[in-house]
Amino acid sequence: MIQLAWLIPVLPLLGFAIIGLGGKKLSKGQISLVGCGSVLLAFLLSLGIFFQLHGQSEVVKVASWFATGRLSVDFSFLIDPLSVLFMLIITGVGFLIHLYSTGYMHDDDGYHRFFSYMNLFVFFMLLLVMGSNYILMFVGWEGVGLCSYLLIGFWFKNTEYNNAAKKAFIVNRIGDLGFLLGMILIYVTFKSLDFSVVFKGVHDNAYNQSIYNTIGILLFIGACGKSAQIPLYTWLPDAMAGPTPVSALIHAATMVTSGIYMITRSSVIFINAPVASEVVALIGVLTAVFAATIGLFQNDIKKVLAYSTVSQLGYMFLGLGVGAFTGGVFHVMTHAFFKALLFLCAGSVIHAMSGEQDIRRMGGLKKALPITHLTFLIGTLAISGLPPFSGFFSKDEILGHVYEHEGSGKLYWVLGVIGSMLTAFYMFRLYFLTFHGKFRGTHEQEHHLHESPKSMTVPLMILAGLAAVAGFLGIPNAHQHLLYNFLEPGYGYAKTWIEGPSHFGGEELKLMLIAIASAGAAIYLAFMIYRKNNVLPKEKEEDMPKIQRVIFHKYYVDEFYDAVIRKPLDWLSEMFYKFFELKFIDGIVNGIGSGVKWMGSMARYVQTGSIGFYLFAMSLAVMLIFMIKFF
């Protein structure tokens, strides 16, 4: 079974090829069948492998890609607990979202295009997590970036969407440069890019920390781009321009977590790179809080979720930074469930509201969309970190380790709790404004309100179930922490350093209660403001207090980047083109040319055209030659 692992990415690739080449010749039914079927098959295969895997890691080599004497790169897949877990998340959640899309995208002209891109995405994402060397990971890494670009700009007539797509690709490329350089440094250090060789190399030379710090930071720059961390997070909120299933699959559940996968995969390096790990933790916690504050005042249902994604990713990095790799991956998993769920619910709401995304135009949708409402509530509870929903366990796992982290662990913990309070507050703000109170949209919209079709609600229910119970995979006690027990053998050389599951009892319990209480308080506050007093977000900017206005404009970070990077680059290039290129360099070149021409024009006066003069000059010259020769 494990030897068939290569089929898992190939299936969606085939799906992409069939749908892509078939195009409009295929019926919608056929497209749905191929699109969903390929991912489902991949999921079943992954499941089969999951049951056959008993902690070992196996490399399945498919073919050799290129070899330059010293560097040889194979198309080969690494099957170990970590990659199998990600494969299950990608294909499982991926399948549900594909299924959902058959309903959501049903009336779209680009139905075939959508499914071909989605399948291509699943292919690249699987390549990313299954590759047994950094280059293959990078292939998947850039490939998912491409699919993200294609899907954000899916409705390509809209310039704003196109700009968002372009921004996503370019910001990701900034990160990719970091990844690329990190990868090259790994190659230079270990003369190989295979995980097995590199990790053994790190293990054998653990003292070489300065290089590992550099590698770690370079890789983390890549992770910042893909997983939307400060300072490269700005693309993710804009990426909500894509169809909602895309936001759920790519920009919440899978692609954005590839940074976490990469660092967990490289855990051996990061464990030996204390500075890099500290940077990861710091950026993570800052992003978690920073993005959460922006989420407080957004009015677009998808933007709120986008900022919450950025914030949750921050938590995962915080976990990785303090060595809680299992916690980070655990949060990836639960986050994949509840955030995909929330996005799909949002999609269901948008579907019902005929495309409206502004929560100020919603309200009271509880009655019209009962299933969506209930599942959304489960998702909200999960992300807010209330037991027994999944988000509580994974977040607690991270925060528990953060608290124990030497140095600034306590500070991080406080920030983390503040962040989770903010999360609970804005998520319930979103929930109340959307589903409670009076309907605030137009009459037409109210008339049109309806629950979504089965193809959309079934995935919601499944995901809601997972979001509710997945936390029990990681009950904070060493023997019952199923996830840790599953992942532990896969850590390889890092095993001895990796933090075990957090304990349950004593101080831990106190921390946990504080976290729950603070989240509860935030929810109560949101309830008082948005449910009890029916406060609505301000319509006009002028009515907002100054601080709120700054946050509403996302701290003007986009404007800042625009003014500091994009505009100067364009302006400088323009100036260089106009003056340096055309006037100076080309001026010198043309100047040399005209110099020669000028000399020629001086010399032409010798050519009088009079034969007499020529003859005279000739005789004179002959005489001169004789005189020089003989006297």
Partner: protein, 114 residues
């Protein structure tokens, strides 16, 4: 055959010293040069060139006799042949120039002025 020729040369050189030939050739050549430089008529210029060539020919023959070396006379034949060809081409060019410009004055021919 060759000895006869040489003997004849010997007898002639005894009558007229070599310096006379040199002087005569120089005068002839100088007249040619001056003619080329001062005259404006292309035909006369051509004739002057011929005169210069013949001055050289004369000198070659004189020295050939002086040194009893017939090789110089080969050059003379060569020069004569080339001169004939040159005149043929030159006159042809002149004919065309005359047809186009109705003149053989070289001052009129300054199309190459830079």
């Amino acid at each position: 055959m060759s000895t006869m020729l040489l003997d004849a040369g010997h007898s002639a050189i005894q009558v007229i010293p070599i310096s006379w030939y040199v002087t005569f050739s120089a005068v002839l050549f100088g007249m040619g040069v001056l003619g080329v430089l001062y005259r404006r008529n292309a035909i006369i210029i051509l004739m002057c060139i011929e005169m210069m060539l013949n001055a050289v020919n004369l000198l070659l023959v004189a020295f050939s006799a002086q040194h009893s070396d017939p090789r110089a006379q080969v050059f003379v034949f060569f020069v004569m042949a080339v001169a004939a060809a040159e005149v043929a081409v030159g006159l042809a060019i002149l004919m065309i120039i005359y047809r186009n410009t109705k003149t053989t004055d070289i001052d009129a021919l300054n199309k190459l002025k830079g």
